[in-house]
Every structure is written in structure tokens, then in C-alpha cells.
């Protein structure tokens, strides 16, 4: 009785979260943002089937997302044109199958090798497809892209999916199904053999599997789910253009997945939610937001390769075993320096952005963390430099305390046989 309950409650909580989120955050912008988050969760999870679970670093995953979206949008237009009785709610299957078809096709080419060769082929195929989009204009719609009207498709249970709320729930249901399916896949023998291919392909060959075939199957699955995400994006935005399958989109999904944490199933979900939130909100606050993204990514690669999920897991383990008290003093010690360094860095970026990019057209007066500041005067620059340099120097010197604290925490965990 207890086991199924333990197994079920995260899923019930997730379903409740999906169902109740629009009740809590009911504004139009929040609803739009949560719809995008749902799409990106599927996309990032599908990417992690490659990177995290099978060890394939792809630079062209947006190809399957974009092609799935384009096929779905053409299918929707065909349904509207032919007045067929197909509801919009099943269009993600069309997108998924399109993703799968292209995944098998390109996968046959690219999964013959793992490692760098795979990465390079994925980059090449990504460029190939995104440059073809300017040649095959009928399919890709050239610069403007292809548009559709989701409300003109046949209704399902009386729902026409015109209003954003209905679209949100459509995305939420698909997102829940895809999360469940992808999680289930990691628990099957196939999911396990994928991990084995990631860790030691040679040994996999010795026990009688073809690493190449497993890479191909994993690749096709990932493309299938990316296609579903693309179709949902097409339904959500009612437009698809060549940017959706370009290098930028492929980079975004890599950033999301890595920042979330590739070693954990929930990592990409966290990454998709965090990055989408930042993408939409940060761009209102500062127009240097892409720079913050890049720096954040470098920061994660250098200091927290486990991503957000890895960081949380480590702290949860420490907290559970009561070792957290060893960490707290070190964190308190290092926090002021770290905060000063980050604030100083943000000030420098904002001042530089104002002075270099915006001063000519909008003047050098600006609002920095609520203070009115003139970016052409020396004082704010000096303060920012002092904060940044001082903060970095302090964190640098005190960081060893955090390292020591973690050392003793890990020793404690080992002593209890948990690490």
C-alpha cells in the first residue's frame, strides 16, 4: 500500500501544479509564459535524452523541434483548407511523427559515431536545414514564416482552443504526458542501456548490443518528443519561422538543459522553467540580458557542472543527514563577498551598456537598482569596480572554507553510508 503511494505522489503533485498554476498566476502574461514553459520543458527533456542519458552532445536539436512545428502548421492549414474534422488537440502527434521521421533519417547519418564527430554532424545538419529554409520557400515561408489559425480547426468536446487558457491546458496535458513517457523510458531496460552507451560503449558492444543502434533509437525518440514540442509551439504562437530551427534555438535548449542539470531527470524541467522565466522577464529589465545568459552558462560550466538540480540534490542530502550546520557558517562567511562581486559585475555591465550602447541615443542618465545615476560620471564606475574587485577577492580567499565544509559534510555522509 505504501509503495504505490510513494511512487504516485510526485505525479499527483505535478498534475495538481499544472492544473492550479493558472488559478494562482492568472494574468495574461503569466499564462503566456507558462504556456511557453510547458513547450520548453518537453523540448529540454527531449534534449537531455541525448546529452544527459546517452552522452550525445547535439548542436542541432532545434531542427526536429522546428520541422515538427512546420509540418504541424502545414497539417493545421490543410485541415482548415479541406474542412476535415480533425481537432487541434491531436496535432502534436503529427508534429511528433514528423520529428520522428526526420530523426530517423538524419539519425542514420549522424549516430554512426559518438563524441565529437556526432556533435559536428549535428552542427552541419542544423546549418544545412536552416540554410535550406531560405531556398525551400513554399515549405518554410521565407522570412515571414507560415501562419495558421488554431481556432478554425474542429472543436474537441466543444473546446475550440481559441483563448490562451484553453491552449495552456492543452499544453499542460501534453507536457504531463510527455514528462511521464520520457520518465518511464528512463526506467526501462532501454533507458539503462542508453546510460551504458554513454558511460562505456565498448563494454556495451561486448555484451551483445550495437551501440550505434541504441544511439539511433535514442536519437529518434528525442526527435519525436522535440517534434511534439515544436507542434505545441506552432499551436501556441500560430506562426512558425526559420529562426525556430536555427542555431540560436539549438543553443538555447543546450543552455537550458545544462543549467538545469544534465545528470538528473528534473534538471531540464528546472532549466526550462528558469530560463524561460528569465528570457521573458530579464529582457524587460535590461537589454544586455543575453550577456547575463552567457555569463551564467559559463559560471555553471565552471563552478556547478551538476546544474541547478545537482546543486539542490547535494544540499538536500546534506540537510537530510543533519550535516547542513557545517555548511551554514561557511556560506554566511562567503555570502557578503559573493553578493558584492555579483552586484558589482551587474553594475559594471549595466553602466557599460548604458555608456557604450545607449548613451548616444538616450543619454547617459539611467536607473541602476532604483538609484538615478549618470553613467558618464566617475563615481558609479568607481563604486562598481570596488564592489566587483573587492567581492571577487573576498570570495576567492574565503571559498576554501566552503570547500572544507563540503569536505567534512561528504566525510560525514560517507560515515553514514549515504554518499
Amino acid at each position: 500500500m505504501k509503495r504505490p503511494l510513494r511512487f504516485l505522489w510526485p505525479w499527483l503533485a505535478l498534475a495538481a501544479l499544472f492544473a492550479l498554476a493558472p488559478k494562482v498566476f492568472s494574468s495574461g502574461t503569466a499564462l503566456t509564459m507558462m504556456s511557453v514553459m510547458g513547450v520548453m520543458i518537453i523540448f529540454a527533456l527531449s534534449y537531455n535524452m541525448l546529452l544527459g542519458q546517452t552522452g550525445l552532445l547535439s548542436f542541432g536539436h532545434a531542427v526536429y523541434y522546428g520541422l515538427g512545428g512546420f509540418v504541424a502548421i502545414h497539417a493545421m492549414n490543410a485541415v482548415i483548407h479541406g474542412k476535415l474534422g480533425v481537432p487541434v488537440a491531436i496535432m502534436p502527434i503529427v508534429g511528433g511523427l514528423a520529428g520522428l521521421a526526420f530523426g530517423v533519417l538524419f539519425g542514420l547519418v549522424s549516430t554512426r559515431r559518438a563524441g565529437l564527430v556526432f556533435s559536428m554532424i549535428s552542427l552541419g545538419i542544423g546549418e544545412l536545414v536552416s540554410s535550406s529554409s531560405f531556398i525551400l520557400r513554399t515549405f518554410f515561408g521565407g522570412e515571414e514564416g507560415i501562419t495558421t489559425n488554431r481556432a478554425k480547426l474542429a472543436p474537441l468536446f466543444g473546446l475550440k482552443f481559441g483563448p490562451q487558457t484553453e491552449v495552456y491546458y492543452l499544453i499542460a496535458i501534453w507536457c504531463f504526458l510527455c514528462i511521464a513517457a520520457m520518465y518511464a523510458l528512463t526506467r526501462t531496460p532501454f533507458g539503462r542501456i542508453c546510460n551504458a552507451v554513454r558511460d562505456n560503449p565498448e563494454r556495451v558492444q561486448y555484451i551483445g548490443y550495437s551501440a550505434q543502434r541504441i544511439r539511433l533509437i535514442a536519437f529518434s525518440f528525442a526527435a519525436f518528443f522535440a517534434g511534439i514540442a515544436g507542434a505545441l509551439a506552432a499551436i501556441n504562437f500560430e506562426i512558425m519561422n526559420a529562426q525556430q530551427l536555427g542555431a540560436q534555438q539549438s543553443a538555447v535548449v543546450l543552455l537550458m538543459t545544462y543549467i538545469g542539470g544534465v545528470g538528473y531527470f528534473v534538471g531540464p524541467i528546472l532549466g526550462a522553467v528558469i530560463i524561460t522565466f528569465l528570457q521573458i522577464n530579464l529582457s524587460d529589465v535590461t537589454n544586455a540580458w543575453q550577456l547575463y545568459f552567457g555569463l551564467m552558462f559559463i559560471g555553471f560550466v565552471s563552478f556547478a557542472p551538476g546544474g541547478v538540480a545537482g546543486w539542490l540534490t547535494r544540499h538536500r542530502e546534506a540537510a537530510r543527514s543533519g550535516e547542513f550546520r557545517r555548511l551554514a557558517p561557511a556560506y554566511v562567511l562567503v555570502a557578503p563577498g559573493l553578493a558584492a562581486g555579483l552586484i558589482g559585475a551587474a553594475m559594471l555591465i549595466e553602466l557599460a551598456n548604458r555608456q557604450l550602447a545607449l548613451a548616444r541615443s538616450e543619454g547617459s542618465a539611467m536607473n541602476l537598482f532604483g538609484f538615478a545615476v549618470d553613467a558618464s560620471s566617475i563615481a558609479p564606475w568607481a563604486l562598481a569596480l570596488v564592489l566587483f574587485a573587492g567581492g571577487v577577492a573576498m570570495s576567492w580567499r574565503l571559498w576554501s572554507k566552503v570547500g572544507d565544509a563540503w569536505g567534512s559534510v561528504n566525510a560525514g555522509l560517507r560515515a553514514r553510508g549515504r554518499a
Binding site: V117, S119, F297
Partner: protein, 311 residues
Amino acid sequence: MLQLIAFSTLNGVLYGMLLFMLASGLTLVFSMMGVLNFAHVSFYMLGAYFGFEIERRLGFWPGFFVAPLAVGLIGAAVERFGLRRLHRLGHVSELLFTFGLAFVIEEIVQMIWGKLPVDYRVPPSLDFVAFRLFDTTYPAYRMFMLVTAVAIFAALVVVLKRTRVGLVIQAALTHPDMVAMLGHDVPRMFMLVFGAGAALAGLAGVIAGPALVTQPSMAALLGPILFVVIVVGGLGSLAGAFFASLLIGLIQTFAVAMNGSLAEVFGPVAPPFLGDLWQVTIAELAPIIPYLLLVIVLIVRPTGLMGTRES
């Protein structure tokens, strides 16, 4: 026709040599450190922008010498303070670090110099007609680019094949541990090679900036082609990178000059669903030819034309 062949060959070789200036550093760094440096083209872009900034204040020639040095120093710093720390985390972390770095450099360049192309001009001392062939003129600046690229190529060959430093570098490509045992400071050598590669990329940027367009997307436009070059040539093979650079340079230049399409060969009426494909000219296909080549080469010969290792 003869005119087309002559000028396309000249431009193709020029473009190829420029590609090789970038590819040589990239492939050397890859074979020594196992890192595929995504930020390599960003160094090329930095070179162009530094060259532009110095040209605006002091003139072209100071920029020609100073900008590559500055870019080389930045490259060495990136290796010393960024990549060296990440070495213990493995190659994927290092690759992702350079990927993020390329992203950041593009954003910083956009912030400083704006999103629009900057007005980086050919210096007056090189702004004349070099020669006239079949009633078409060829600018002297292009000849200057060609001469510079060939000189760099020759210098690279001499340094790598004929000097002591070159021999140690070559040894470190395949047997870094043994070279370290013999008392050479291998991490320092990595830093120097990385810095030198960045400086070469910077120099390519300085001389390409006035001829091509100096804009924030120049790195992202050239980057994938550069990867095609080193993969087609064979990862880590300098000779392969040289031939692949020339090959891609020539193919792209010739393709741009050609206008044939399926419609011209088989008549204007296209079979169903192929309307777009029927009208496409070879010139329009030029941007995707390198990627087609990449995919074909990797299917037929995964090690590349002259490579010995796969990853």
C-alpha cells in the same frame, strides 16, 4: 568563361587561405588539448574590431601589428584562467566553456560597437588596382590579403617543421606525457599555442575586416564553415586542414559565380512539390554546399580526408 575561371580561382584561393589561417590554429589546439574551440572565430571577430578601432585612431598599419598581439594575449588569458581550470572536468566542459565564451564575446562586441556593420575601410596605401585581366580589374588589397595569408602559411610550416619549438609542439601533439617527462612545460606550451592560434585568427580578422563586412554576426557566419573545414580535412591534421580550406574556398567561390538550375536543364515545368527546388540556382545553393560536403565526407570517411582519429 576564362575570365570567370581566372577570377574565381584567385578569389577561391584567397578565401581558402583565409580559412586556413583560422583552421590551422583551431586544429593545432584541438590535437594538443583535445578541445574544439568554439570561441576561435570569436577571436577572428575581435581581430577585425580591434583592427577597426586602431585604424580609426592611428591608421591601418599599427592595427595590422597590434590587434593580433592583443587578441593573442586575450587567447592566452582564456587558456590560462579559463580552460586550464576546467581540464579536470573533461573535454565536454571545456567545449561548453568555449561555447559560452563565444556567446559572451558576441554580446560584448554588440554592446561596444553596435549591431550594425562598422565602417572598416581599406587603407589608402593599398586602395588601387593591382592588375587588369580580360577588362576586369583586381583590387590591390585582395592581393595584399593573399600575400599575407601565404606568408603566414610559409612561416607556420617553417616554425613547425624546422625549429626546435616546432618539433616540441609536434611531439606534444601525440605524446604530451612523454614531452612533459623530458622536462618541457606542457601547460605553458598549451597556453602559447592557444595564444598563437588566437593571434593568427586575429590577424585573419584584421585583414579580412575591410574586405568582408565587420559586424557582430561575422563569427557566427564563419564558425560553422570553419568546423566543416577541420572535420572534412580530418580533425587534428594540419595538411588536411590546408587542403580542405582550399577545397571549400574554391567550391564556394565557383558556386557563387554559377547560375544553372534544374529548370534550365529540364525545362521550366517542375514536377509536383518540387517547385522551389526546380528554380534554385547553383549560386543560391552555395551556402549549403559545405554542409552537404561535411555530411557526405563523414558518411564515407568518418576520419575526414587526412585524419587518423575519430574523436
